[in-house]
Symmetry: none
Subunit: 196 residues, 2 copies
């Protein structure tokens, strides 16, 4: 019974994972995968409160069918729009958040979009051919929801040789939602022309 029980729990854990990764798996397919009967799989699903395949598919479909309209964002749009910049000193960028940047369930913007905004702004204010992020400390203070417009302000706080300390503050409606401190290294690989 002990061994059986453990097996059962382990099996259910794996079934859950499989379904999470591939909601299109029917009970029959799962039964074949795990070499258990269809009935056992069903019992497992019931015990875990996982709905049948067709309902799972409908859920997945609904989550996105409404969303789409707005297609894939161009990568550069992740960066936001540079609205002001003083090379070597500071810069401001804004990003209008859209549905595709958010978790479907909650409408909360995924953290890496905010980091992308901060990071690209920080890099773009460095007055060098090449700038690379070395270390970053990020703090997400308040969740940001789809539709909110983010304003990022970056400032070079310190400079030692080719090492810059840049602080970035992101606000939405005058409320700070994110702060970050980035250590960025600059390199002047070859000839340095005027500017960008």
């Amino acid at each position: 019974m002990m061994i059986q029980n453990l097996n059962k729990i382990e099996r259910q854990r794996r079934i859950k994972e499989y379904i999470l990764r591939d909601p299109f798996l029917s009970d029959k397919k799962l039964a074949e995968l795990f070499n258990f009967s269809v009935q056992t799989i069903r019992l497992d699903r019931l015990e875990m409160g996982i709905p049948e395949m067709r309902k799972r598919i409908i859920k997945v479909a609904k989550e996105t069918s409404l969303a789409d309209q707005v297609k894939s964002l161009k990568r550069d749009e992740i960066i936001g729009e540079l609205i002001d910049i003083e090379l070597g000193k500071s810069g401001i960028a804004i990003l209008k958040t859209v549905k595709s940047m958010a978790f479907n369930r909650t409408g909360i913007i995924r953290s890496h979009y905010i980091f992308s905004l901060a990071d690209s702004l920080a890099i773009s204010i460095i007055d060098a051919k090449v700038a690379l992020t070395g270390i970053a400390r990020l703090r997400y203070k308040i969740p940001v929801y789809t539709g909110q417009t983010l304003v990022a302000k970056a400032r070079v706080a310190q400079k030692k040789g080719n090492k810059y300390l840049v602080s970035v503050h992101v606000k939405s409606n005058h409320e700070e939602v994110f702060t970050g401190k980035l250590v960025i290294f600059s390199f002047n690989d070859k000839v340095k022309k005027k500017e960008v």
Copy 2:
């Protein structure tokens, strides 16, 4: 016959429109909407080559499903591919870097792509409905160039209530290029059952 014919064509045009706008309409619902028999609706669908509701839903779902084999570039370019996961414990994801993720001048992958890989992996191993990044400490150790494949390993290092400390290590060719420590908070908006 002329009038009938026109009606038929008109009806089919409208059915097509309805289905386009709402792929979840079954033949029965369409029959009710148009006040024709289910059989007529079916014939119309067949004549127009429109698949049945369930297939339409599957199509919609697959277009955006994370688990989908045929991955939509946009999303996967950012998130990478989950290749193993043990909910609540650890996970592995890989990301094949491409040109569009890099700076043109140097071919070095922009840091936020690496963070995105790490961050999404960290979030996906949290066994909760909603997980949000709160704090992050990142260290970029070696530049990554276009074409390199990144392997990210995340592990829950600590858990206190709904606060998780997740460490992520990203390697390329067995060389560590990035490490990060993320503090993630989980939320169960709709509590169902307790587990584990």
